[in-house]
Symmetry: C2
């Protein structure tokens, strides 16, 4: 799956992930109105609006990008109907040939991580049959529980040729509270980074491992240091755009081959129509506004990427 | 909710949580057969078997215990039908007057944590209506992202009088890999513990905070140190029984008032019929075996508890 990701990045010339994190505020009024007219102001109605919103964006951007990253929380908040739309979104993206990174940030003790891994990346056995319940291509994983909480994910990835992005240095303002604390002179995120390296050796692609890392674009100096520490690790980089990072901040996240990183934008793409310079598209043109925002982001990143 | 938990612990004299973590291996063959006959060897069939299994156990033990802790991964692995049964289990436990601790171990950047918090502990707004999609009473939370990843959960708990148990020192073998690393002479889990204390001050009950901590029974010395460090924090203690800890290990997890901790057992209760001394109940008597296992666990803990 990491080979497919790299191939698609090369083909699209866009190391861009569109974050399908549909807050209800982002959804144009006409879509909400339609969904509520059919399903009422219910969880089903909200989920239907999310689905129509996603479908519009996917139809508008699929040919420009290698991958999408649905944030499961934004679906889970609407209960079962929301999770049904999470799954429908994954399936539809697959139909369009997109790689799906499930932003699930799961992580637990061994047997529990094994259940998450089977449900999201692998298959579960039911009597003589087996099923792939969610079937994302990559998933994000939280490392706080250590190796035995991560290994079941790695094992499932090996079996089904899937991949992970493990949280190393997250993009949020207080990520440093624990992640930056020095242990024997080295910040915790570097200790985690070294472990990710080690786990990654168990499941290598040609140039990069199937086991990647989440490194926030909002911390460019740390990204640079981690790039050196983890030369074979692909980075999933959140925090571009709405969270404040620019393309210039990202140059050092890429490897010498101009690869090694894929940059996420959520709000900046899917809610592009709500702000300049895309406001002229209007609500009805929200999906085309997203397309233009993806094109602009790809062009912006191309600099950083080519410099790498 | 913390007051209700304490009141129910006093009433039942059992600081026991039954972990509703139904691995398919735990489910008696006759229940699987019935469920597969009706729904086929499908995700729906697996979920139906889980539901019947849970219902049997809940009916057998509800009057003995204050709370249950369904592990969402064991439901999520069966996709949407599994998550429907997670919700049905929560609702049924509420009907029986049980407190439900959702073992979800979520945690993300601020806006995403807010979505998880709304979906699991609070309400989501859909037009003019609002809904409580999962409606657990407590949820477990992962602290790796720091304060701004945890605060949205605390805020929702304040609004809806719900509570949290934040991972501090987990029960698994490799929990020490990151959690035990020394930072300025103090292990990371103590730094996290101090933060939990601080977050907890924002949402105090009478004697204990609504914001609790997960501390593994498998690390009794650390539990003792953390009990001193966090006198107003309620502990959710996994690792008793199948994971290896005994009642003697747990004495120091309780406060001077004999309260302050609630001990989880999953496999040891729900799969009790599979091993001595409960094997004589047989498959058909699995629920009664669970009842006996709860009684034995409560008696075993009473010692540790009273000594506190």
């Amino acid at each position: 799956m990491i080979e497919k990701l790299i191939e698609k990045i090369k083909k699209t010339q866009a190391p861009v992930v569109v974050g399908l994190d549909p807050m209800i505020d982002y959804i144009p009024g006409f879509l909400l109105k339609e969904a509520f007219a059919r399903h009422g102001e219910t969880l089903e109605g909200a989920a239907q609006a999310v689905w129509e919103f996603n479908k519009g964006i996917i139809d508008a951007v699929w040919d420009l990008i290698p991958a999408v990253k649905p944030q499961i929380a934004m679906y889970e908040q609407f209960g079962i109907p929301g999770l049904e739309v999470y799954k429908r979104t994954i399936d539809y993206c697959h139909e369009k040939g997109l790689i799906v990174i499930g932003d699930i940030k799961r992580g637990d003790i061994g047997s529990t991580s094994a259940a998450y891994a089977a449900g999201h990346l692998g298959r579960v056995q039911v009597g003589s049959q087996s099923y792939a319940p969610f079937d994302e291509d990559f998933a994000t994983v939280n490392p706080y529980l250590g190796s035995d909480g991560v290994k079941p994910f790695v094992d499932v990835c090996k079996e089904y040729k899937k991949g992970l992005f493990i949280l190393v240095k997250t993009s949020n303002p207080s990520s440093g509270e624990f992640q930056d604390r020095l242990i024997d002179g080295k910040p915790l995120y570097e200790w985690v980074g070294e472990k990710v390296n080690q786990w990654g050796l168990e499941h290598m692609g040609r140039d990069y491992s199937y086991i990647g890392a989440v490194i926030g674009a909002t911390y460019p100096e740390m990204g640079k240091a981690l790039r050196k520490l983890m030369p074979r690790t692909f980075f999933l980089v959140p925090g571009y755009g709405a969270q404040g990072a620019s393309a210039a901040d990202l140059a050092d996240f890429f490897g010498d081959d101009g690869l090694g990183a894929i940059v996420n934008s959520s709000r900046g793409i899917i809610a592009a129509y709500k702000k300049e310079p895309y406001a002229s598209f209007g609500e009805e043109g929200y999906a085309q506004a997203s397309r233009k925002a993806v094109e602009d982001m790809a062009a912006d990143l191309l600099q950083a990427w080519k410099r790498g």
